[in-house]
Symmetry: C2
Subunit: 224 residues, 2 copies
Amino acid sequence: MKHCIFLSFFFLFCFISNNAQEKEFDTTYRPTNYALKVEKFRSFPNSKEDIIFLGNSITEYIHWNELLQLPQARNRGISGDTTFGILERLDEVTEGQPAKIFLLIGINDISRNFPDKLILRNYRKIIERIKTDSPETEIYVQTILPVNNTFTKYKNHYNKDEHILHINKELKLLAEEYNLNLIDLHPYFLDDTKRLDSAYTEEGLHLNAAGYQHWAKILKPCLN
Amino acid sequence: MKHCIFLSFFFLFCFISNNAQEKEFDTTYRPTNYALKVEKFRSFPNSKEDIIFLGNSITEYIHWNELLQLPQARNRGISGDTTFGILERLDEVTEGQPAKIFLLIGINDISRNFPDKLILRNYRKIIERIKTDSPETEIYVQTILPVNNTFTKYKNHYNKDEHILHINKELKLLAEEYNLNLIDLHPYFLDDTKRLDSAYTEEGLHLNAAGYQHWAKILKPCLN
């Protein structure tokens, strides 16, 4: 009887602490107009020649076809998105069996305090799902860009550099393990103080026109 | 002397009332990240084959190249933009001497209570500037879409239907006067109660995927 009571309390504790942990970060959050944006993506025709740019606002906020002069470029960025969002809408990307996917995701996960392990578990799921559902697609994993905490607009994103560095280190190992292309963007965007170079940003998180031109130069060799 | 005093007061009155009128609506307002967005547009190469979609959020919120399967489509929509913004950044559009410009602008002017006369004066300026600076460009003027006041999100935009109707009527006359193509979108998007059909919108102002597909069908004959 004593055992039963002890076990009941133990399970109750596990249940409560598990729920408490879930509440520290909300993985079900999706940005405004998320469903509407995904619905528009689904309304477009697919082609096996599509080159997909998949990610969050940093991917959304540029016209890739113009930046790269690449008619088959497809913007699949959604502002505020996380690895959970990518998993949720990944079928829209893989169903067209695109030629290439350029993936850049994770900074919003970090800003929302998702544990690095969870982010990396999701990366693994994303990669495995693409490999299974669209085996001919070439995957390009891009390392997470640095931020710059001398700006003030995105307080939840700054001062988490050790998480960015850890995830980027692990992304390189993942790319090796799964035999993927790895584009190590991060060092290209650093200034002398190891922050996102203010030549490329107006607020320490997103890129300005010069930042996107810089990115385009790094990508060019992968597009021939 | 009496005349001088009278005239001084008269000019002072004109000055004050003119300033007061200016303050009823702020024509210098530009949305967040406006300069940043224009800077990105300026960073892209131009081509005489470009087909420009010029306008506000309704134009910005769709990937035109995918919707229309038109590689030369260029998105020059900026959320929140007005006829004043278009005039300010029009040189970025005309400098490339594009093949076509599809213009849809004015609902934010109306939401900000700009007088119809002022909006139409700006339309005239936009048309004349394009004709002067890029004389080979085919101009397509699109009538302003209806809104739907059974939704609640965009209170400043609803219940100004008579302004939409008046401007649209005048746009048709302008198109005739300047010998432009006129695409009368407005009636295609109405429901039986003369509102923006809720099949095409989630909040009474912007379009959903079905709305854009509907628009695409209307545009198709102009793109061959």
